[in-house]
Structure formats: structure tokens, C-alpha cells
């Protein structure tokens, strides 16, 4: 095979990839500068490493509180999504009958319903239940909209396990629940890990539900605070804005760098089966 096209295609891909990461690196030119320094020479090297912009951005939208709130919502979303999905997926995989198939299709249909469609009734229901302006008000509906997808994944995972395993457990005298908790669930660890990771990222990234459910500034999640920064502090103080970009993107980037293998795998697990 000729060499030239390989070099050209590799170069094109590298440039495109650079285009993806560049917006994440460019803020580093600005973050360490004072506004004056930025105005005179935005692209030069900073004269000194200053952390004031980070402190300014952190305090302006109280990022610490936001991280705690978002962490709580994300953990809540995992706790409310993964166990119901695993249990239902198991029943759909191993107890197939007309009734369970019907229930399965009812759950499957939920996969196609966008949150946006039911926004108004969801808000009214939550205010009746006293869930508006609370963090569970975010992760309970999130769970409902996440369960269909993970039920599908668990169902196909449990179906792929050999039937004999459950048989053997039953012969040993294990009941239905014991078979599930002691034999099947430990085998489903990879699925559970993916479900937990992707639920976490989903809840972490949510903007729409937080926007409609929360009014109290103390409860604001990370993404609402980022949006607040975008609207209230804006780009007129660019060095501080850039610091805001760096601080708010950092946790997600860190998570991605540590877990990208799993994140890619989980995303595809869903996509290839669907």
C-alpha cells in the first residue's frame, strides 16, 4: 500500500481531533491573567501564575456546594435506577411468559418517551408530592426515565448467561431470591458497573430537570451553577470566565480520563443491542 495517503489521512484525523480538544486547552491562555493583562496581550504567556480567577469563579457560583448537590443527585439516581432495572431485567430474562412479555413491552415503550414531553405534568406531580425544590425531586424522575434502558441491558445480559447456573443453584436448594442475589447478580457485575457509571454521568450532566425543579440557590446543582455563571458573569471578565470553564469541566474530564474505556463500552452496549 502506498505511503502518502496514510500520512495525509493521519494528519487530517489529528487536526480534527485537535479541534475537539482545543476548546478545552485554550482557556489556559487566559486563566492566569488579570483583566488588564488579558486586554493587552490575550495570547501571550502570563507574567505570573495567579489563582485569583479560580478563587473568583469558585466563590461567584459556590461550586463546592454545587459539587455536593450533584454528587447526592448522581448517587440517588444510581440507587433508584440500577436495582429496579436489574431485578426487572432478571425476571424478563428468566421467567418468560405472556404476562412478563407484556410488561416488558410496556417498560420498553418507556425508552422512547422523552422527558421533555411530560415536563408540565411531571412538575405538577412533583409539587403535589412535595418534591419540587428537593434533590430527590431530580433523581426519582431520572430513575424512571433511566430504568427502561437498563432493564433492556440487564435482560439481554441475564439471557446470555447459561441456564444451567440457575438450575444448579435451585438443585442446591436456593429459592428464587437466593438464586438471584447469590448466583446471578454477582455474575452481572460488569453490567452493574456500566449501569452505575453511565447513570452517574447522566445525572451529573442533567440540566433540564434541575432547571424546572429547583428554585433554591442552595440546592443548585453543578450544571445550574455553570449556566448561572454563563448568564450572570458572562464573558466580559474573560480571565475569570475561562477559570469558570476550567473548574466546571474538570470533574467530568477527570472522570472521562479515568473511565473512558468503560464509558465507550457502556455506550456501545446500548447502541449495538438497540
Amino acid at each position: 500500500m502506498r505511503k502518502a495517503p496514510v500520512v495525509i489521512v493521519t494528519a487530517v484525523l489529528a487536526v480534527l481531533a485537535l479541534g475537539v480538544v482545543l476548546p478545552l486547552f485554550l482557556p489556559l491562555f487566559f486563566v492566569f491573567k488579570t483583566r488588564l493583562e488579558f486586554a493587552y496581550d490575550p495570547w501571550g504567556l502570563p507574567q505570573a501564575i495567579r489563582w485569583e480567577n479560580f478563587a473568583g469563579a469558585w466563590e461567584a457560583i459556590r461550586i463546592g456546594q454545587g459539587l455536593l448537590n450533584t454528587l447526592y443527585v448522581s448517587l440517588g439516581a444510581i440507587a433508584c435506577t440500577v436495582p429496579p432495572a436489574a431485578m426487572a431485567g432478571y425476571v424478563f430474562a428468566r421467567y418468560r411468559s405472556k404476562v412478563t412479555e407484556f410488561v416488558f413491552y410496556a417498560v420498553l415503550a418507556g425508552y422512547f418517551v422523552p422527558v421533555l414531553m411530560v415536563l408540565i405534568p411531571l412538575y405538577r406531580l412533583s409539587s403535589k408530592l412535595g418534591l419540587t425544590n428537593t434533590l430527590p425531586g431530580l433523581f426519582l424522575p431520572m430513575a424512571a426515565f433511566g430504568i427502561p434502558f437498563w432493564t433492556i441491558i440487564y435482560r439481554s445480559f441475564f439471557r446470555s448467561l447459561p441456564e444451567e447456573l440457575a438450575e444448579a443453584a435451585r438443585i442446591d436448594g436456593a429459592g428464587h431470591a437466593a438464586t438471584f442475589f447469590l448466583v446471578m447478580l454477582p455474575l452481572a457485575k460488569p453490567a452493574t458497573f456500566l449501569a452505575a457509571l453511565l447513570c452517574f454521568i447522566g445525572a451529573w450532566s442533567d440540566y433540564l430537570l434541575s432547571l424546572i425543579m429547583l428554585n433554591d440557590q442552595n440546592l443548585f446543582t453543578m450544571q445550574l451553577r455553570v449556566a448561572q455563571f454563563l448568564n450572570n458573569y458572562g464573558t466580559s471578565n474573560m480571565p475569570r470566565y475561562a477559570a469558570g470553564v476550567v473548574i466546571s469541566a474538570a470533574p467530568t474530564l477527570l472522570l472521562y480520563i479515568l473511565g473512558h474505556r468503560w464509558i465507550l463500552k457502556g455506550t456501545l452496549a446500548g447502541a449495538l443491542k438497540g
Partner: protein
């Protein structure tokens, strides 16, 4: 004899999932349909008004603008984002070497960023005077570029938001297509090479036809995703200037949570739902017809 224990176990294990769905999904869906037929503002009584909310939407210039925007968005995602994803995915698969192997993770990176952060990065690039493009233009003394207001110009705003979305969301298509290309047996490529096809002829005549199903799935996902578009245009432009970047999602949100017109907002929700359903079913039925022919 019936296995009551087994049945009890099934009921118990299905209960949490079904309960979550019943309360937070099925009931709100039913309410969406019901509310869309009423005049309801959150205060006072709800009055049944038949299809009035829908009739009103059709006459509403803002709603029509939002509908046109999301359909245009869907069209251009299919025309631009999918070919681009295919090009990157195919190149990454067929020109696999030391330099290109780690790029897959990089292309997917923007996909995991929360939309609020993506929007923040978008305005970091596009902001007038202080943004990256404006300061670079100033440094290069390109005044024409410096003068462009990417998010404030009604003719440009749609494309600026679209560019941010393309940056953020094509990673999924790339990774998804790569996984599908990798599943094509190696012998097929070798056979094509023996027949004298170069790699781009192989792509056009062999790979694209073989990927017709995943490409269709991507097209459905893009289309349905466009109908639900909210975060990025709302955060970047609030749907403006004028109605230039408004979407069905933004109008729904404003009708519901700014104007307290629950009935009208619910009607938009129904429209979004029905359009998604139509697009999905249409695509799948085309798929089935082709399957029968084969």
C-alpha cells in the same frame, strides 16, 4: 399446581421498576394528553377546550419558527454530521496506526461533557470582543472577522449553535460507526483489495451498503434528538435573536414555566411525541420492507 412462590417473586421483583414508571412516566404521559385539551394556567379551574391549543399552535409564528428550526436541524444533522462521522470512523478503522489508535477516545470526549459546560465553551469561542475567535481576529488584524457576532446575528446564530452541537455530539456517531465497521469480517476487505478496489472505493461500494442499518439508526437518533433539542440553544441564545434558534423544547419550556400556559405547553409535548413516533416508525417500516425483499 401453580407455583405461587415463583409468581410472588416475579411480582415483587417487577414492582419497583413498574412503580417508578407508573408514577413518573405513564401518569404524566396520560396527563400530557389530557392537559393538551384544556385551558389550564395552574391557577383556577381547567376548562376543556378540545383541539383549540393545537389550532392555536398552528397559527403561532413562534411555534412555526421552532418547528422549521428543529426540522432544518434534523436535516442538516443527517446531511453533515453523519457523513462527517462516517469519514472519521472509517479513517480511524482503516488507517489504524500508532497515531490514530488513541484518537477514538478523544473524538468521544466532547460527548460526555454536560451541555451547560458545552454551552460555556461555545460562548467562550464565539463571544464578541472577548471570545477566542474575536481576540484571535484582533491579533491577526482581521477586522471583518472581529466584527462578526456569531450568536447575535439572526442569520448566523442557528449555524453557530449547530457548530457547537456538531463539536459536542458527533463523537457518538463516530464511535458507533467504528464498532459496526470493525464487525465486518476481514475477508471482505481482502476480497475487495484483490479485486483492485482502493480503500475509498471499498468504503463506497462495500462498507456503506453494509452499514445501511446502523446509518439509519443514527439518522433516527439525530432526527428524534433534534425534535427534543433544548439545552444548547436555550443556554447559548435563549432561542434568539428573535426566533432564529428557538426550538419546540424552548417554546414548551417558556409556555409552561414563563407564561404558565400548561395546556399549550402540553400540546407541544404531544406534538414532539407524535413527530418522534412518526419518524421512528417510518424508518423502521422502510427497514422491514427492504428486509422482506432480500
Amino acid at each position: 399446581m401453580r407455583d405461587w412462590r415463583g409468581i410472588g417473586f416475579q411480582v415483587l421483583f417487577l414492582f419497583p421498576a413498574v412503580a417508578f414508571l407508573a408514577v413518573f412516566m405513564y401518569y404524566p404521559i396520560e396527563e400530557t394528553f389530557r392537559l393538551s385539551l384544556t385551558r389550564s394556567t395552574g391557577l383556577g379551574d381547567e376548562a376543556y377546550v378540545g383541539l383549540q391549543n393545537y389550532a392555536r399552535l398552528i397559527r403561532d409564528a413562534e411555534f412555526r419558527a421552532g418547528l422549521v428550526n428543529v426540522l432544518a436541524w434534523a436535516f442538516w444533522s443527517v446531511m453533515i454530521q453523519i457523513p462527517y462521522s462516517f469519514f472519521v470512523a472509517y479513517s480511524l478503522c482503516l488507517y489504524r496506526n500508532r497515531f490514530t489508535a488513541p484518537l477514538r477516545a478523544i473524538f468521544f470526549l466532547a460527548n460526555v461533557l454536560p451541555s451547560a459546560i458545552t454551552a460555556m465553551l461555545g460562548s467562550f469561542m464565539f463571544a464578541p470582543r472577548y471570545g477566542v475567535i474575536a481576540t484571535l481576529a484582533a491579533r491577526l488584524k482581521w477586522t471583518w472577522l472581529q466584527r462578526i457576532d456569531f450568536l447575535g446575528d439572526p442569520d448566523l446564530a442557528f449555524w453557530s449553535v449547530f457548530a457547537v452541537a456538531t463539536w459536542a455530539y458527533t463523537g457518538f456517531g463516530i464511535v458507533y460507526l467504528m464498532a459496526n465497521i470493525e464487525q465486518i469480517p476481514r475477508e471482505i476487505q481482502e476480497a475487495a483489495e484483490i479485486d483492485g478496489a482502493n480503500r475509498w472505493q471499498y468504503a463506497w461500494h462495500v462498507v456503506i451498503p453494509m452499514l445501511s442499518y446502523p446509518l439509519r439508526i443514527l439518522a433516527i437518533l439525530s432526527t428524534v434528538g433534534s425534535l427534543k433539542l433544548f439545552d444548547l440553544p436555550y443556554l447559548l441564545t435563549r432561542g434568539g435573536p428573535g426566533y432564529a434558534t428557538t426550538t419546540l423544547g424552548i417554546i414548551l419550556y417558556q409556555q409552561g414555566f414563563t407564561n404558565w400556559q400548561y395546556g399549550r405547553a402540553a400540546a407541544i409535548g404531544v406534538v414532539i411525541f407524535l413527530l418522534s413516533l412518526v419518524f421512528t416508525v417510518a424508518q423502521f417500516s422502510i427497514q422491514r420492507k427492504e428486509g422482506e425483499l432480500r
